[in-house]
């Protein structure tokens, strides 16, 4: 949240339609993402009631659990879901590229990775819990399940974990993705309703944003996007249908439940694909590809782990694992924030407003300026930038620029809207700067103290060396029989 976004919200209210808060798209959007809309039985943590899933807007697959309290039916549902999701995921493992790494072994990376889209953050929680409740299951022993069930469980867990990673696009939520690009005239709490959010962004013909959003709040016109269902629907439609199935578990009874759930899922299905269209219409930010490369790398590593027969993810991280994960999330957060600003002048404007960045026109340049004598003589071109922005950077601060990759400078002086900078990086190795590396007078430039420099990973001990203050070396996680037979009522 920034003053710019707040202002955009006010404009949204005045104009009756959502306002853009970015100029480019900051998330990757796959050519064929998989949309997954799960519904949960009310009052239960992770009892699936039904789902709509698929990669073709015209052909959703509807999965139904006619009696969600029946564990066999639930596992049948998971197996059926696996039939749809696993081939999609595994399809991406077939084509890989070899990545040469400086000073390291070359490794393989999948050319593309799967992308799953769900309506909202609650659906991500559900994905994680469904993964948690299925990944420890076994194909033999008591309560055996189909082999695809624990496998799907591990994938769902992976996707839910990965979605915590700022900038990752493997599992996206429609409300968050849309909310990152548009400001509506309603509060964040109301934006969590996908239909209302889309009402503001893309109202139907002849309707205003607020009108469409208000209509979207009526669960009879726009059923909730899940995983929670509308209580009225539960009591009046779903409840009787489930009871009818209990009394006579016939095909017809199953069809009745399926029909009921279809009415709840279909509107959201359409909204999901509408969201995809809206997001796709935005030009992609320059660094989105870099982040997707990281996603592909992460996906490939997990695929390898699964193929090699590694154990399912532990119930909890060990101390070192948890600290490493947290440090990784923090680095990703910092990097994502910087990358968005570099890719998008409107995001950069937030930093210009706080004085951490400025934009202006170059008024003077001394490209061949040097510092030092003899062997320590260094090329340090000087430029002067005239800006209207309130600069809150002090002499000596290091700044980067979105205009040139690998370019860095140091603030020399700030006087009355004139900033003098000394360029320190990105001019090449010659005695004179390589062409185009020093901004010329008249050029419009942006500088900021935000830099996405390489950050080394946190120095953490090996798990075997976990100090006693953190519980000592953790026992290696071996899934137990108890895990596999855990009750699932």
């Amino acid at each position: 949240m920034s003053a710019l976004t707040a202002l955009a919200q006010l404009r949204a209210i005045r104009d009756g339609i959502a306002q853009p808060i970015t100029t480019v798209r900051h998330c990757h959007l796959a050519p064929h993402p998989m949309v997954f809309i799960p519904l949960r039985l009310a009052g239960e943590a992770a009892a699936p009631m039904g789902a709509m899933v698929g990669t073709d807007p015209g052909h959703p697959r509807l999965l139904v659990v006619p009696q969600p309290r029946n564990r066999d039916l639930r596992f049948a549902f998971t197996a059926e879901l696996a039939e749809v999701v696993l081939p999609y995921i595994e399809g991406f493992g077939k084509t890989t590229e070899t990545i040469e790494k400086k000073g390291g072994e070359p490794y393989e990376r999948c050319l593309d990775a799967p992308q799953i889209l769900v309506p909202n953050p609650q659906a991500v929680t559900f994905v994680g819990l469904l993964g948690r409740s299925t990944r420890f299951r076994r194909v033999d022993g008591p309560y055996p399940v189909h082999p695809s069930v624990p496998l799907l469980g591990r994938w769902l867990t992976y996707f839910a974990d990965r979605s915590q990673h700022p900038g990752s696009s493997l599992l996206l939520t429609a409300t968050e993705a849309l909310g990152a690009h548009w400001a509506t005239g309603q509060s964040g709490l109301e934006d969590a309703n996908l239909a209302a959010l889309l009402g503001w962004i893309d109202p139907p013909e002849g309707m205003t944003g607020p009108g469409a959003a208000e209509e979207a709040e009526d669960p009879l016109l726009w059923p909730p996007a899940g995983p929670a269902t509308d209580p009225g629907f539960d009591n009046e439609v779903l409840g009787p249908a489930v009871r009818a199935y209990e009394e006579a578990p016939t095909e017809r009874a199953v069809e009745r439940v399926a029909q009921a759930l279809r009415t709840q899922l279909e509107p959201t299905w359409r909204l999901m694909w509408r969201s995809v269209e809206l997001l796709r219409a935005l030009p992609e930010g320059a660094r989105v590809k870099d982040r997707w490369d990281v996603d592909r790398g992460s996906f490939t590593r997990f695929l390898e782990r699964v193929t090699e027969g590694g154990p399912p993810q532990a119930r909890r991280d060990g101390a070192v694992g948890a600290a490493a994960r947290l440090a990784g999330l923090e680095r990703a957060r910092a990097s994502y924030d910087v990358q968005r600003a570099y890719d998008d002048p409107l995001v950069m404007a937030e930093y210009r407003l706080t004085g951490e960045a400025f934009a202006g026109t170059v008024t003077a340049a001394d490209p061949e300026h040097t510092e030092g004598e003899g062997r320590s003589r260094k090329l340090r071109p000087l430029i002067t930038v005239r800006t209207e922005d309130q600069v809150r950077l002090t002499p000596g601060a290091t700044v980067g620029s979105p205009d040139r990759r690998g370019h860095a400078a140091e603030i020399v002086e700030v006087v009355d809207g004139e900033v003098t900078l000394k360029i320190t990086k990105g001019m090449g190795r010659g005695r004179t700067p390589s062409p185009g590396s020093v901004p010329e007078p008249g050029e419009r430039v942006t500088y900021t103290s935000l830099t996405d420099d390489f950050q080394s990973s946190a120095a953490l001990p090996d798990p075997e060396l976990t100090p006693w203050t953190h519980g000592g070396p953790p026992q290696e996680y071996v899934p137990s029989d108890e895990d596999a037979q855990e009750e699932w009522s």
Binding site: M1, A3, L189, G239, A349
Partner: protein
Amino acid sequence: MNGRLDELRGPVPSHPHDARAIAALAANPGCARRALLDAAGVDKDRTARHVGFPAPFGQSQFAITRGNVFEALVKENGCAELLRLLRELLGLPVSEVGYQDVENVGAHLRHSHTRALIDRAARESEETAVFYDHPLFSLEIAGHTSYLEPDVVAFQLGGRFHIVEIKSFGVIDGQAEPQKVAGAARQAAVYVLALRTLLAELGHDPERVSHDVVLVCPENFANRPTATLVDVRKQLAVLRRQLARMTRVDRLLEGIPEGLTFDLAPDRDGVPTRSAQELAEALCQVPARYAPDCLSTCDMCMFCRDEARGNGSTDLLGRQVRDELGGVSGMAEALGLAEGTLEPAEGQEEVARLLRTANLLREECLR
């Protein structure tokens, strides 16, 4: 003052507050409309319905069934399962425990019966351990007595009372949804306060009621219960402050016009006779402080949101937005300052400059 409050409510009995409603009192302490409606015991749900803005709250029969099944399981056989949990959790040396179902007496006697039982327990030797099922507590709210029915059991051992709160949301690998835990803690705090008040009235030390409540939830994906201690000191403090504040409604009453009433005046069939328009006008006489959070806690939320929309208040968008706008409360005002069509008032120069810059930046980037 009570007379004035009764007048506000009209000739219907005061709407009783359950623990959930009392816990929600602390949700938006700055809202005069809510404070007054609650103090007068007005049925907010019916009021909101009548003015055409029913609250979007409902509960699914699946969730209710699940809750009841789980509660029954925990309380089965004289709370046998609960005893097992508490032995582990509190390290109790007891193997047996007494069980008193307060509901055995008639409904009208439940409160006095609870009182008598608790009094006896507090006097008796410290060695006994007893569960009290279906107790009925009372709590004074702005001059009116509300009765509280914990689905919950007060448990006494070694002279200490514990409130046990049974909830059916799952605790998975030691973690539960934070909002649900917070809700349960707020509700349990009401029971702690009620029981402490009761002990104090009976002349016992109120501190004998532990501020650690026992939260019983299903573990992982099964129905097997697990128990956790939750410290509710913070919730208690908020609740106390809010209740104390409600007794000072006289100050709120000062500002409202003579003769104002939220009376629904039902006819013989219970249908309110007053026009919705008239009632809405009466409600508007008392200022509300709408915030988006109200949408999840208050029965009046839809009405107040509509009103805030009409007023063009930045409250509609939430606290954070208002803060970003430098505390400017009117939308038109904030936009006017940003676009330079409005001269900043004294003391607003700084905010105006910020909004103006923000607006210029947006225009520059979206050109």
